[in-house]
């Protein structure tokens, strides 16, 4: 909002308090007159003039402004006695006498007097005076019409309103509204702004917005400033991943790392307790490690509703897991049939089916509930490299090894085929927000946005070779993974442009996938060839967490879209890890550990003393 200087030409100062002789910042202490190198704020701190009283340590809050907005807040809250008392005690009136008079005149409907007061206000800006006059006279006009004083209203229009030469269209409408009186029956014909009579209070509110804030303090200014501060705190919070927990005015908002999934949880079968001294979040090291694949896990993807997880492995198996209410993850179906390892899985828009694409093989469509393979899509002599659903779930797209893109209906009939350099052997395929464009990698360094209905193409050019990409849930962003171990975040809503870059993870030989995730997709996650999962804060680009635990390259990560506290990673170590929050502190954890174990004999359960003992409930040591 700024100070007095903002709206006025620099040579003059607005006299905010008409009765006052004080003028801001013209009084400079003797110290300053010699020191032109001193900055303004320094000057203010040194002066002891009342006008430039500063509150706070940063030298940016003027006392008079602060008092005035506090007074306005008190009045808004209904504490007019307190407001008046504050004005009295501080000697700083909320509004100058002239403004008070003006407001009273408006509320009383003394239009001509209020216009005179308006001109007295010394607002400097002619345009504002005219606009405000227009609004006031408009009210006068409508009140006259309302009182059936038509000729008087017309006179006001002719003599006062039209000569202002502001808003001629509105003048037309006002003129017409005189006639409109006779056409009372039909309201729907009223074009443009409302023709109804505003209340005087509404008029005052409108004037408050028109006049500069130094003259009339905007309503609820203090509340607005506080809300702004809270917004900034939330944006700056690197680990903000929960909508639970209100922001308080009493302390600065700062989420701890404990809101990001960083622990793999206990499964009821394997219960490993490893308790160490110290109080970091990494206190517990539990595992929800899923071993069912038995071979390198290439791909993991949660369904849109977060209830299922689909994964594929090097032994050509696809597993559909179900996420249970207690955050346990259980096998639902093992899908066999592919002859080549599945490099890509995509969930249908209604989450009831998945498409799996074998590496340059066929695309299979499966029913999630029954685990049945509903259809096989193939092209003789060629292999399919990627697959995607149309936005309405009624057709299937696929990239083909001959660089074309094909479209099938649900029956398996090929509907279209677009040839040309449409796609190379990268398994990712995306769809834009409006469902009209397909996203594929068409050249080593280019991504194609293909509007298939109109057969038109747009390209996103990268400066490095692209290895994979993923699209955000709201389809406005594209995260591209590049050969040089960088992730680029593109905004594709409108003209595509790069917004952020993320670095830190390792990728040299394989395709390593990344994802969006967390509350409002505020985080970026990625696998890495150094066996860790990397998590960045999306807006700031800062790497906030690395999760260790896997013993092989992490190929793919997927964040649960409906549970911001659950992350899945698939690795060459043949496991999928489900990461969650560290919810328990040491003592509670130990107690829980003891109670969950079926046999107590081999459990080391005491807290704080033992160090790094790994034991399983059923006797297994890891």
């Amino acid at each position: 909002m700024g100070g007095v200087e903002d709206d006025e030409p620099p040579t003059k100062r607005v006299k905010v308090f008409s009765g006052d002789s004080r003028v801001h910042s013209c009084n400079i202490s003797a110290i300053d007159q010699g020191g032109s190198s001193l900055s303004d704020s320094m000057a203010r701190l040194l002066t002891s003039q009342e006008d430039d009283d500063i509150v706070g340590t940063k030298g940016v809050i003027k006392k008079t402004e602060l008092i005035r907005i506090i007074a306005e807040a008190l009045y808004s809250l209904g504490y007019s006695k307190s407001g008046a008392r504050l004005e009295e005690e501080s000697g700083i009136p909320l509004h100058s006498g002239l403004v008070d008079l003006f407001m009273k005149q408006i509320l009383d409907g003394h239009w001509d007097e209020s216009l005179a007061t308006l001109h007295e206000m010394d607002l400097m800006d002619d345009k504002i005076i005219k606009l405000a006059s227009f609004v006031i006279l408009e009210q006068k006009f409508f009140e006259l019409l309302d009182g059936k004083k038509i000729m008087d209203a017309l006179k006001t229009l002719r003599a006062d309103i039209a000569p202002l030469c502001v808003n001629n269209d509105r003048v037309r409408e006002l003129s017409y509204s005189i006639l409109n009186l006779s056409l009372e029956m039909s309201d729907d014909r009223v074009s443009g702004q409302e023709m109804r009579l505003k209340s005087r209070k509404e008029l005052l509110e409108e004037l408050q917005k028109l006049l500069p804030p130094t003259v009339i303090i905007p309503e609820n200014r203090l509340v607005h400033l506080v809300e702004q501060a809270l917004d900034l705190q939330r944006d700056a919070c690197r680990y903000h991943n929960s909508s639970v927990g209100e922001m308080s005015l009493l302390t600065d908002h700062q989420c701890g790392k404990d809101h990001i999934p960083c622990q793999t949880h206990q499964s009821s079968v394997f219960y490993v307790v490893c308790i160490g001294a110290g109080h970091s979040e990494m206190m517990l090291d539990c595992c929800l490690v899923l071993h069912e694949h038995g071979d390198e896990v290439w791909f993991v993807q949660f369904s849109r509703n977060g209830k299922y997880l689909a994964s594929s492995s090097g032994n050509c198996i696809v597993i559909i897991w179900e996420v249970m209410a207690d955050e346990q993850v259980c096998v639902r179906h093992r899908l066999t049939g592919h002859q080549r390892p599945v490099s890509y899985i995509t969930w249908s828009p209604d989450d009831r089916q998945i498409l799996t694409c074998g590496t340059e093989e066929v695309v299979r469509r499966w029913d999630v509930v029954s685990g049945e393979c509903l259809r096989i899509y193939e092209k003789s002599g060629l292999g399919l490299v990627s697959c995607g659903w149309a936005a309405d779930g009624q057709s299937v797209f696929s990239g083909v090894s001959d660089k074309s893109i094909c479209m099938w209906d649900t029956e398996g009939k090929e509907m279209e085929c677009w040839k040309g350099q449409k796609t190379i052997r990268i398994a990712d395929m995306g769809v834009t927000k409006d469902g009209k464009e397909l996203i594929t990698v068409c050249k080593e360094t280019s991504i194609l946005l293909f509007e298939w209905e109109r057969n038109s193409e747009k390209f996103i050019e990268e400066d490095q070779i692209i290895t994979s990409f993923t699209v955000s849930d709201d389809r406005k962003f594209l995260l591209v993974s590049l050969l040089n171990e960088e992730l680029h975040l593109w905004n594709i809503d409108g003209v595509p442009k790069v917004i952020s870059k993320y670095k830190g993870h390792k990728r040299s030989r394989f395709v390593v996938r990344s994802c969006f995730g967390g509350l409002d997709e505020a985080f970026i996650g990625s696998g890495s060839e150094d066996s860790q999962v990397y998590i960045w804060h999306r807006v700031s680009g800062e790497l906030i967490l690395t999760l260790g635990g896997h013993s092989g390259a992490v190929n793919c990560v997927s964040w649960n879209p409906t549970n911001p506290h659950m992350l899945a990673s698939g690795s060459d170590d043949r496991t999928i890890r489900i990461w969650g929050l560290n919810r328990m502190d040491s003592s509670a954890a130990a107690a829980a550990a003891v109670s969950a174990c079926s046999s107590s004999s081999s459990t080391a359960a005491s807290n704080d003393h033992t160090n790094g003992v790994a034991n399983g409930c059923n006797g297994k040591t890891l």
Partner: protein
């Protein structure tokens, strides 16, 4: 493609045709006296209906041109009853002439009263609303000539409305709405333009009658 002027010599023009063209022009524009002289010169008897019709139309036309819409309307209703009811656009245009007359003579109260009584029925129809807004806006200015709607006060506008009225009356009384002369000129222009487009003449100048007649 300019025709060789000698080609024209080959076409024979009938005197009677020319007489008819002149007559139709004079009748259309109600030049009664001129018509009677002309007919006397070529030895044709003037028709009585024609003369009466021209007289009436002439009066109506001039009332309209002067902005005396009420007189024009009265006479129109007398001579061609039902015409204005059928032709709402025209009716509106003429009423607006009267309104404008009030505004120009600064008779604001009458203008307002007139608007309230005559314009309100039109307000129910969506397509007249914009026009109504235009005219009503004239009331808002103390100097309507300087307002954004000044074009509504111009004599061109009045002339246009009077012409439209004339044509409507002619149509109503089963006479041609356009004089033969007008039609012929229009025809020539269109044909010439078509031809020059077809020949892809460089620098397609629009047909100029003035140049042609030189």
């Amino acid at each position: 493609m300019d025709t060789d002027p000698r080609e024209y010599e080959k076409i024979v023009v009938n005197e009677n045709d020319i007489h008819k063209i002149v007559q139709s022009y004079l009748i259309h524009h109600c030049f009664r006296d001129t018509l009677e002289s002309f007919l006397a010169c070529i030895g044709v008897k003037p028709s009585v209906e024609n003369s009466e019709d021209m007289d009436r139309r002439k009066r109506i036309f001039h009332f309209a041109l002067d902005g005396n819409a009420s007189k024009a309307i009265e006479l129109t209703n007398e001579y061609a009853p039902g015409l204005l009811e059928e032709n709402k656009d025209l009716h509106f245009d003429i009423l607006s002439l009267q309104f404008v007359e009030f505004v120009c003579t600064r008779k604001i109260e009458e203008a307002l009263a007139f608007a309230q009584s005559k314009f309100t029925p039109f307000g129910k129809d969506q397509k007249y609303v914009a026009k109504l807004e235009d005219f009503m806006a004239l009331l808002a200015y103390e100097e309507p000539e300087k307002s954004p709607m000044f074009h509504l006060l111009s004599s061109d506008h009045r002339h246009q409305v009077a012409e439209n009225l004339n044509r409507a009356i002619l149509a109503h009384t089963k006479q041609p709405g356009y004089s033969a002369m007008e039609r012929l000129i229009q025809q020539t222009t269109v044909v010439k333009q078509c031809l020059s487009q077809e020949c892809f003449k460089d620098g397609n100048e629009p047909f100029s009658l003035k140049d042609f007649l030189k």
